[in-house]
């Protein structure tokens, strides 16, 4: 499945400063959710300090997730089923202003 991942607000520092990445998730029998995507991200993309991005099976509190510009809290959160070409943005709020 083809997806676009975006990182902003400082979160990109955990991903080699890359703000935008397109990825292809392997097709498997079960559909992909944000929960499983996070596991995939931790195993495949996170360059350093996984605990700064992921806490338990979710993102660290203070990191916002938007799917196609919409707050994931409106979309079932971790259980949201990803669709082809979805854009998932992770914005960190954890920094000085």
């Amino acid at each position: 499945m083809h997806l676009t991942l975006e990182f902003a607000g400082g979160a990109e520092l955990l991903f080699g400063k890359q703000k935008l990445q397109t990825i292809d998730l392997p097709d498997n029998n079960t559909s992909w959710t944000i929960r499983t995507l996070l596991i995939w991200i931790r195993e495949n993309l996170l360059r350093e300090r996984p605990e700064l991005f992921i806490q338990g099976d979710s993102v660290r509190p203070g990191i916002l997730v938007l799917v196609n510009d919409t707050d994931w809290e409106l979309l079932d959160g971790l259980n949201y089923q990803l669709k082809e070409n979805d854009n998932i943005l992770f914005v960190s709020t954890l920094h000085g202003g």
Binding site: T93, L94, G96
Partner: protein, 374 residues
């Protein structure tokens, strides 16, 4: 899962986010309207400004100060506050330090069409951070690289000793030089909730009362001394909403990720607040309201605020910390004012407050962390 229709326009537009303050779904347009309207209501209710005033918006290039500048300019025009707005930024004078934040502020100047004034430590104190580092380093017979000097200063003389003290005063001294009536900083609800909890946990009642005030330094504030009144228009705005507002509006800001606060204290409290927010989003505003209600008994002894004999800044000592430090530098005794217990106490306080002066925090924490963990 909340429904997908905006509660404000009743489904005219699809909901885009859940507002943490109310846990209700909002579409983008209604969110912008509500966010801006609430800040306007805060400004009016708390009487933060008077027509004709010149307001310095403390600008670091970070998300809070960018949103603050954008919204203040917008509201000033929409509601005819009659204010003159300027962006005020402080440059510590650290060459070789990646100062993207200042570049961002310069872009903000273009984007918002507001005058920008950048003041340097050199202008304000007669010493830039580079010079301070050199002076301290030379005294100790070190001849290492510049970067090491800087880390050395920060590590062995923790940020509070020079940078923290100077930072705190820099805005005020800068504003005084420019004859500005007030300073507006971008402290948000999360920051204030954090500070309240921190002061409760440390039993710091002197700070507790001040930190809940939306405006300090005006007639209602009983501390003396010629400090410029300072207000926090974003006091009730959630950090999440500030970030979303900036994101949806494509506002330009610079973010340094505080990879790990070297002072576990504020770091722990930040984590706690974020966890609370996840469980019950109204916690943040509830903590602020609780903090505002806390009253100190009349009979309690509070530290006396007086005025520095040299520069008239408010101080609890006859000579304020900054003047003491400058004197030390000028006399070639850079450790003046940095005693053992003094250092420890200031370390505790100033490290905690580094990020509370968010308008200035370029966050050297990253560098400090590297040093500590080695």
């Amino acid at each position: 899962m909340p429904s997908a229709t905006c509660v404000s326009c009743n489904g005219q537009r699809p909901a885009a986010l859940v507002r943490p303050k109310t846990s209700e779904p909002y579409c983008k347009q209604c969110f912008f309207d509500a966010f801006e309207r609430e800040i306007h209501e805060t400004i009016v209710k708390e009487q933060l400004f008077k027509p004709g005033e010149t307001i310095a918006v403390a600008a670091s290039g970070g998300k809070d100060s960018t949103v603050l500048a954008h919204v203040l300019k917008l509201l000033n025009e929409r509601h005819s506050y009659g204010l003159k707005l300027v962006l005020l930024s402080i440059d510590e004078g650290i060459t070789g330090y990646r100062d993207d934040s200042l570049e961002t502020v310069k872009r903000n100047q273009q984007q918002y069409e507001l005058p920008l004034i950048i003041l340097t430590y050199k202008e304000l104190y007669g010493w830039s951070m580079d010079e301070i580092v050199k002076a301290v380093g030379r005294k100790n017979n070190f001849s290492y690289s510049h970067e090491f000097h800087y880390l050395f200063v920060l590590y062995f003389f923790p940020s509070g000793t020079f940078c923290g003290v100077f930072r705190r005063q820099a805005l005020d001294r800068g504003a005084m030089k420019l004859s500005v009536n007030k300073i507006a900083t971008g402290h948000n609800a999360d920051d204030i909730a954090e500070t309240i909890l921190m002061n409760i946990l440390r039993g710091d009642i002197a700070r507790l009362k001040r930190c809940t005030l939306i405006m300090t330094g005006d007639e209602s504030d009983d501390s003396e001394g010629s400090i410029i009144p300072r207000c926090k228009p974003l006091k009730y705005a959630y950090e999440k909403e500030i970030v979303l507002y900036a994101f949806y509006k494509r506002l330009d800001y610079f973010s340094t990720e505080c990879l790990y606060s070297p002072n576990a204290y504020r770091g722990n409290i930040r984590t706690y607040i974020k966890d609370l927010e996840r469980l019950r989003p109204s916690s943040i505003i509830d903590i602020i309201h609780s903090g505002e209600q806390l009253l100190v008994k009349q009979s309690t002894k509070m530290p006396v605020q007086r005025v520095c004999e040299r520069c008239s800044y408010c101080s609890s000592m006859p000579i304020c910390k900054a003047c003491l430090l400058i004197e030390g530098l000028n006399k070639g005794v850079p450790k003046l004012g940095i005693g053992k217990t003094e250092r420890y106490r200031k370390e505790m306080q100033k490290k905690d407050e580094c990020c509370s002066d968010q308008s200035l925090c370029h966050c050297m924490k990253e560098k400090l962390t590297v040093n500590e963990h080695n």
